[in-house]
Amino acid sequence: MRLISTRLLRVCMVVSMASLLGACAVPLRIGLKPEERSKITALAAHVVIVQDEVIAAVQPPNAGAATGGLIGAMIDASIANSRVKESQQALGSFYAVIGDVDYRKEFNDAIRSELANYQIKVATVTTTPRAVNMDILAKLRNQLPPGQALLLIHPRYSLTADFRNFDAESHVSIWSRSDSPSAAGSMNVPIQRSVLYFQSQPVGAGGKKSLDIWGAQDAALFRSTMRESITETLRMALIDLDVAVEPVAKTGSLEEFSFNNGTITTKLKGQVVKDGDTRAIVLASDKKLYSLARPSRSASTAAAQ
């Protein structure tokens, strides 16, 4: 009994810590100020890809938020367990087909060529599975040559919980040397920060039917979509420095796009900052920069409604 109580207390502590972390104070999007930009002669790109393969973005339930406290957290954990088991069972044979897929290598190959066109010269590129903590970040910043800044890219990728979409979200930030405080006045705040989000075209009707399509012909569609996600992420990165901090409605309203959150298709409002034949890059109201498939774009705008 005492052991159970102790374990419950530990879980509670973890939950409390997670709640505290929810109050993330650093803005999601920080624009690079001209005075900071002028100081940078080159960037050292550091790409952190912790994941070894695609996972399903299984969503934990929200019982913890509804009921609060330990009981809610335990219900959450139990349901999360069940959902992961279901998704892993479904993904099993698909994983057998994509065993040779190496997202890290694909990203590394792409970034070396694509960043040659970046607005700021990229002096070095490092791609690693090793997560960065505060000490490592400080070390990376301290070893920068004068004039260089650190470009930190942290991509994550997944299939939506219904397996219909391939998503990739990258946290991008630029850090000055640690002895050169940013204009924001804090040593621990990047001089630029953004979140780049790719969502593919929806594939199939969901569940096993979608997985069968992704996995057909040696997972040809999955492989090409994964490469597309990398290309689009880097495309967003290339224009990111010119994009405003917040979306601006040119005609009095923002456009609406369809977005699959894994459970339902929702509407996402934003400003189109780059339009293409098949995809649009959109600065959304949540301040993330999205690359969304154009056929999924709603023909109407909020204003037209």
């Binding site: 374990r7 530990r10 879980v11 973890v14 939950v15 810590m17 997670a18 972390l21 929810g22 993330c24 650093v26 912790v50 994941q51 070894d52 393969e53 996972i55 973005a57 299984v58 969503q59 934990p60 929200n62 957290a73 959450d76 954990a77 999360a80 367990n81 992961v84 088991k85 892993q88 069972q89 099993g92 044979s93 994983y95 057998a96 065993g99 190496d102 890290r104 290598k105 690693t128 599975p129 090793r130 997560a131 960065v132 903590n133 505060m134 000490d135 490592i136 970040l137 070390k139 942290h154 994550r156 979200e169 946290h171 621990n188 959150n261 894994g262 949540d286």
Partner: protein
Amino acid sequence: MKKNVLISSCLGAALMLGMASVASATSTDYGSKVDMKYDRGARETYALQPYQSTCPVHIVLTEDARQNKETIGQSGSGALLTGDIGRWVADGLIALKDYGYVVDETSSLDPPAAGITVKTSLTRAYTWHLSVKIFSMVALKAQFIDRNGVLQEKYYRAHGDKSNMWGADSEYVTTMNYGLNNLLPAVARDLQSLCKGQKVDAYTYSGPEEVTKK
């Protein structure tokens, strides 16, 4: 937008803010070197019942064929560094003796005079987070050799999960052991057929519930 995305974001933020965690492993300048030791007692359920009819099983040291041989994921303190973990898997396979098999180690890939030689390569071994849980994934390619040569090649995957109690790096190793120990019952069950020269399914996935389904 999504709670798991929020948690992931905040975990990232926590890393940036230098969240302290309990780490029992050796600290390096780039994360913590975790002690990847096989633990036959790290199980999610206990349902081990030795098989009555078995054959000798010869284990070849597992090849670590992961694309990423550096890490098994990340904890609150940073990267979970490993290096080659072929020994960890081989030690797990040697625990097939818990299922009634007589197990020894061999370096020979020649057809054995008796029983089955098991040659394996580890293709995936990693952990990830969801809610307050740690999950692990272990993927293994196996080649079964009997006295007539290669009898069958097979692919196994298994996952394990546990509540993240302390954020300690050792908990990630425990979760990895859960995954490996969830995979072993499938191997043990297959060996029942392989020992008789009969082929089995080319792929098996097993989660925690597999242990009780022998």
